[in-house]
Symmetry: C2
Subunit: 451 residues, 2 copies
């Protein structure tokens, strides 16, 4: 039997192989890569000693399932991760190609390094280590590793609503979030929800010459600008009527804990964001703005001419990709209705505008006093030698809401990413020591739960 | 010798061949096509009996020159056209492919059919007919057929400023505008100027995850929306300080003549534009809004993610292609300065914004009482059997300003296009009877000037 150090090094090499597979769920041309990435983690689950594994097909991409239920009387954990990744564009900003993982300065650079193949691998390898060392696990585990997290797919939701008993567990463990700072163990207790869709705007029947018709014909690109600025002001305040009605502010104790977090706004601006200045609602802290307040963002605008040179066109149609992040108690369906009403009243003369929903998920919160959360915090404290902090994330992990709705279980978000890991951006990375510590912390967590 | 009818039919066949060449000046991959299109018209000038022809290289694409100066004591005309065309996208909206000309319902469908190969061909063929019939021309002619009209190239401007004597003439004739209505002979006496450029906006150092950073990080796409709406209000009124200071209103007589033009706003909206409603400054007629008032339009916005599916990105950078149409007395340089100042004061927190000029040209006006204009009006009246109307165009033909500046000559804009010819749009067309009448009208015009 190998020792733990060699085991972890070997785990890293296997992770690099997995990262070579461009499993981009949102792009149809990568369907084969999705199958390959799923097969790779399924065989890893078999090697880890799962009594049963399965590829579960429900929507576009398969879910990988694995179970070992040989510890009667002990808790059952649902270990969740995802093998799909975001598209890598813009490609020319990557220092090394996104699907040719490279280790530089103790970081793995690759698309999916931290979101979420690297963190999923922590769960797989912690279980494998315990199984290899002890011939058994201290708790029961079910793995669910899906392939539609980044494309808002329906696979998990359908499966959970059809067969919740197949995933029955006492708590879910998700490694898909980040530590607040290097070396500071962190558990994420809150996530924002999301509504993502497209704003379609139509003007003239066909593209028009801006010289001949400019001044009389509607311009859908300008209409998008007008609608967007009617939805959100320059202070980041969303102008959609009723939008803030259900927003619940964080409890005073939580706000106080946030105030004690090691955070330097100047460093955050300069090192992490690299812009001239931060934006957002005045009078609120960065934590409130990114964790506890809803937002509205535009991700891309299609239409007209964006090539090299000059084309004087008034496009017939334009589309804006927009999303809203939601906070606890906001309901995605209601937010979409409010958005649609606001778009309707903000639509300028001459055009038709319609918001088409792509996907939505509510925000979620877990109680830091829950025993599964407390044990996770203690396990991380042991490994990192510092007190675990409870933070939130501004991102959305819709699965947390689904586990709550269908399985009635809390989700423990043990995150080992770092704030500058470039999620969804070029040069995504994962800190190798965090990968190793993650395996140790999850190992300790399962041992504590089984004790 | 063929008769005039057969000659014109043959001219049409030759035009179709020329239209097969995708001479898109703004796309570098069509450089070879540009050379082919230039060679095609040069050999046509030789066949038309020009005493001398030449390809003149100054910038990206060659100008085609041809001269016949064998009528001493008679006026010299500079006959101008352009062989370059706009990009054809969106391709999927063309009924027949843009570079496979098709004649349907007496219209030639092809990119460049009317703008400007078809109309340039009128000039070439009128001259060829007279030369073939009489063995000489009634006036002196110089052809200048350029290849950078659609890409704002510098070739003609450089040549005119270096060697104005090479193009010395008494008046220029340009066939690159439209008739006000089918069968109604029209001369364009005014054109809007243009300023075309790109608004570059930079936010964070790199693309960011909108969940993690939304609420604190600047979004360059949203900044573009904010800047655009600060530059122009929903009524089409441009908010740039000082922008309207030099704007000269049309004379009352001109406005009265416009009011007598056969124009049905409802038909214009429904048949020509095909939108829900017209837009633009309230209280002004469509003619004022499109011919005599400046505009600001956005033609495309690049940045972020516009593919299929959902990507939750806050892009680091975004670019908007924008143009302003200028009216008489507005100066392009000054308009750019005013725009830059307005962009600076409209730039929201957290981003840098910069307007980069691609090209500019002033507006132009010619006097309907000029004898070269009056003779053109009379020639068209003879051919079409209706009184010629004097109109303006909202488009920009920068060459008119250059001829005025360097050669000190008026430009006679005899246009044979129709308002629904889909310039710069899918399914561009040219009405075959107008092509034939155009050749006849230019023939009569040269005869009248030489009489």
């Amino acid at each position: 039997m190998t020792d733990f150090e060699s085991f972890k090094k070997q785990a890293l090499q296997e992770l690099l192989e997995w990262l070579r597979v461009p499993s981009i769920s949102t792009l149809p041309e990568h369907k084969g890569d999705m199958e390959r990435a799923a097969a790779y983690v399924r065989s890893a689950l078999e090697r880890a000693g799962m009594a049963r594994t399965e590829l579960i097909h429900r929507a576009e991409h398969p879910m990988v399932y694995g179970e070992w239920l040989g510890a009667p009387g002990k808790p059952t954990l649902l270990l969740y991760g995802h093998y799909d990744v975001q598209p890598p564009d813009p490609l020319d900003e990557w220092v090394s190609p996104p699907f040719e993982p490279q280790i530089r300065n103790d970081n793995i650079y690759a698309r999916g390094a931290t979101d979420d193949k690297g963190q999923t691998w922590i769960l797989v390898k912690a279980v494998e280590w315990l199984m290899q060392r002890d011939g058994r696990l201290p708790v029961n585990v079910r793995f669910l590793i899906e392939g539609e997290e980044e494309c808002g797919g329906e696979a998990v939701a359908r499966y959970l609503s059809e067969k919740p008993a197949q995933l029955a567990a006492d708590a879910a463990v998700i490694c898909d979030s980040e530590m607040f700072a290097p070396g500071l163990p962190s558990i994420c207790t809150g996530l924002r929800g999301i509504v993502y869709g497209e704003l379609h705007v139509e003007g003239a029947r066909q593209d028009l010459h801006s010289g001949v018709y400019g001044g009389a014909a509607p311009n859908p690109l300008m209409a998008i600008a007008e609608i967007l600025t009617a939805l959100k002001d320059r202070d980041g305040h969303i102008l959609i009527p009723g939008f803030y009605d259900r927003v619940v502010e964080p409890a005073p104790a939580e706000m106080e804990a946030w105030a004690r977090l090691p955070f330097n706004e100047k460093e955050y601006l300069e090192k992490e964001i690299g812009a001239k200045e931060l934006t957002g609602e005045p009078g609120l802290t960065v934590f409130e703005r990114t964790w506890a307040r809803p937002t509205l963002e535009v991700h891309g605008i299609r239409g007209g001419f964006t090539g090299e040179g000059a084309k004087t066109v008034i496009p017939a149609r334009a589309v804006a990709k927009i999303s809203m992040r939601l906070v606890p108690e906001q309901q995605p369906e209601e937010a979409v209705q409010q958005l649609r009403a606001a778009v309707e009243s903000a639509t300028p003369r001459g055009v038709k505008a319609e918001f088409r929903l792509l996907h939505g998920a509510p925000a979620s919160l877990v109680d830091p006093e829950n025993p599964f959360v407390k044990q996770a915090a203690a396990a991380m404290e042991e490994v990192f030698g510092r007190k675990t902090v409870f933070i939130r994330s501004g991102g959305s992990i819709p699965i947390v809401g689904l586990f709550d709705e269908h399985l009635r279980i809390p989700s423990v978000l043990m995150g080992f990413g770092l704030p500058d890991d470039n999620l969804h951006a070029p040069n995504e990375k994962f800190h190798v020591p965090n990968f190793y510590s993650g395996i140790e912390a999850v190992t300790r967590y399962l041992e504590r739960l089984g004790a």
